[in-house]
Amino acid sequence: MILILEQLLNGLQFGVMLFLLAAGLTLIFGIMGVINLAHGSLYMVGAYAGTYVATETGSFWLGLPAALGAAALTGFAIEALVVRRLYARDHLDQVLATFALILIFNQLIVLGFGRQPVFTALPSGFGGSVELLPGLPYPTYRLLIIATGLSVALGLYLLINRTRIGMLVRAGATNRDMVRALGVDIRLLYTVVFGLGALLAGLAGYMAGPISAVQVGMGEQILLATFVVVVVGGVGSIKGAFVAGIVLGVVDTMLRAFLPGLLRLVMAPSDADAIGLGVASMGIYLLMALVLLVRPKGLFAAGG
């Protein structure tokens, strides 16, 4: 029971991480119609910039603004120099351009920081674990990630539902031609959305640093799962990204943790391991295929 609870928490933590990445991606996707493969690069830029400052200054918290700033600036630059020139073009041209950006960013990081993964430290005071329930110690840093993710979700909810810019974002996700026709400065909206998405990706990258490795290509490892979250949640929907992120995070964690064990109850251990592992690694893709077959537009599609 305690184990199930712990795994649920783990799933939740993985889920909010996916949400941080997917939130920006789904907005960029939904509002601007841009398939941004370089979103993972922003995650990497945030991680490297933040870690660099944190190591130089010795303070995790000083690294945070650096990570956010670097990722947002990079996002603005990508938008202004590359993506903006491609809005009117075929989606496929954007795929090619952002693929080129992945190559460029990865190699620039190699030139700047070398090929070796860099050291990251936990923020002081978050190194240990707290006993949530008797027999359930949980790393405090992971609780910090969960709290960050949930606050970002709340903040985005307020931003999107209570502010003028949020209104434009919602309108843009539903029908971007109409927004343009109504005379809204859509270019400014695009830049803001792209920068916001980049900022969230940078935040995710920096938060992930102390628990995983800060290395070249780290963005591509998580990019696919992020796209899955976006599509399952419904393109353009923050709510969808949140729900799908948490669901996929929990499902993925639970399958890995318990499926081989459960299968072992009904079949030979070696078969159970093989099948259980196979299904667990395909888990999120299976889930996506199922969701799309039942609801072809995803769980919370943001209108036509």
């Binding site: 190699v110 790393p139 490795a213 290395q215 290509g217 667990a280």
Partner: protein, 384 residues
């Protein structure tokens, strides 16, 4: 478009240009992507040996031609053909990953060229598939993990949880560990590219084994060790690891989260022999980054080639060169070194303790020999 044409033209010029005198040795290695540091270190180990020899290996002027395979088997193959057919290169080395080797090595040996592996030692070419033109300087893949299994057993542990990614190298790792440790092992497989191991940490805690073995190279291993510490398991359940999970880069990136771990290795920077002292001093003088065992393997590869070239003076008589390589008449930085009948190494494996380096980091200190004159379990199947 114009830019594109110029770039291609320039590249073509450079590829055909230099008709230099030195003996060319082809290096196919992985330099891009997350695993790029492995290839870079192996390459720099070779280049260091060449530089220390004043541009000569065994008295013969040598040039290493290096190219990145991008961890794509087809690219590795393409580079090999370029080396052999365009440049007439007869000696190749450098491949880091087993799958690149799978696509590339058969073609090299079938063409009558010699391949000396500085890293990957897949079982495919170690047993019945061995070849007289194929040498491995590093290790047979399984041997890495057999050493860890032997160490865990010697330390008196009875039950273990073993974790590895769910792919061939991962399965081989756990099989190798079990071969020496015994059968009371709970196996947990993780996914390729998985960077969050919280779920596995919970499983380890609930299984409460006497020892944990895990094989996660590079970035995955860094993530694993950090999370092991954060989950409060470090210090509670001891960990015995094989070499790829505790290389100097991993230790540098995790810092104190590695202290207290028992590691196993065939080389460590504190090895007390003249060849190693010279190697470590030269590396530290030239590079700012930590020295890894990949670098030591690249260095050993170059020195092995040097010993053979000193004997034959060149590659004109490949049979003689092959014989000279087989003799392995060089001072390895790992101490004792010889080839088994499948031309894979027979050498000692050591237990290392990971301790604090006094600056908030961790370092590996060599403790004792765990497997002496250890070859691999495939050699007997090799009929050569």
């Amino acid at each position: 478009m114009k830019k594109l044409l110029t770039a291609v033209g320039m590249a073509a010029l450079m590829a055909t240009g230099a008709l230099a005198e030195p003996l060319k040795i082809g290096v196919i290695t992985t330099l891009s992507g997350p695993a790029g540091y492995l290839g870079a270190d192996a390459r720099d180990g070779m280049l260091l040996a060449l530089e220390m020899g004043g541009g000569k290996l065994g008295g013969v002027e040598v040039e290493f031609v290096v190219e990145d395979d991008g961890l794509k088997p087809a690219n590795g193959r393409q580079i090999a053909e370029k080396y052999m057919q365009n440049d007439g290169i007869k000696l190749l080395t450098g491949i880091i990953f087993s799958n690149v080797a799978g696509a590339t090595v058969p073609d090299i040996v079938d063409n009558g060229a010699i391949y000396i592996s500085p890293n990957a030692g897949p079982s495919t070419f170690a047993g019945a598939g061995c070849n007289e033109n194929y040498f491995v300087v590093s290790w047979q893949n399984d041997a890495l993990h057999e050493a860890a299994g032997a160490a865990a057993k010697e330390l008196g542990y009875k039950t273990a949880v073993a974790l590895a990614p769910n792919y061939q190298a991962g399965k081989d790792a756990i099989a190798g560990f079990k071969r020496m440790f015994g059968s009371d092992v709970t196996e947990i497989y993780t996914q390729l590219d998985q960077t969050d191991f919280a779920s596995e940490m919970a499983q380890i805690r609930s299984a409460a084994p006497e020892v944990v073995f895990q094989f996660h190279p590079g970035g995955l291993g860094i993530a694993f060790l950090k999370q092991y510490q954060q989950a409060g398991l470090l210090g509670q359940i001891p960990m015995v690891l094989s070499e790829p999970s505790t290389d100097a880069v991993v230790l540098g990136a995790v810092g104190e989260a590695a202290i207290g771990i028992t590691a196993t290795a065939h080389w460590n920077r504190d090895f007390d022999n003249a060849a190693n002292a010279e190697f470590v001093a030269a590396w530290d003088a030239k590079y700012a980054r930590p020295i890894t065992y990949y670098a030591s393997q690249g260095y050993d590869t170059a020195r092995l080639i040097a010993s053979a070239l000193a004997n034959t003076g060149g590659l004109d008589d490949l049979d003689a060169f092959r014989e000279a390589v087989r003799a392995a008449d060089f001072e390895s930085v790992r101490g004792k070194f010889s080839f088994g009948q499948n031309q894979h190494p027979v050498h000692d494996w050591y237990v290392l303790n990971i301790v604090s380096d006094g600056n908030g980091g961790a370092k590996a200190v060599t403790d004792r020999v765990i497997l002496a004159d250890h070859g691999d379990s495939y050699a007997a199947d090799c009929k050569m």
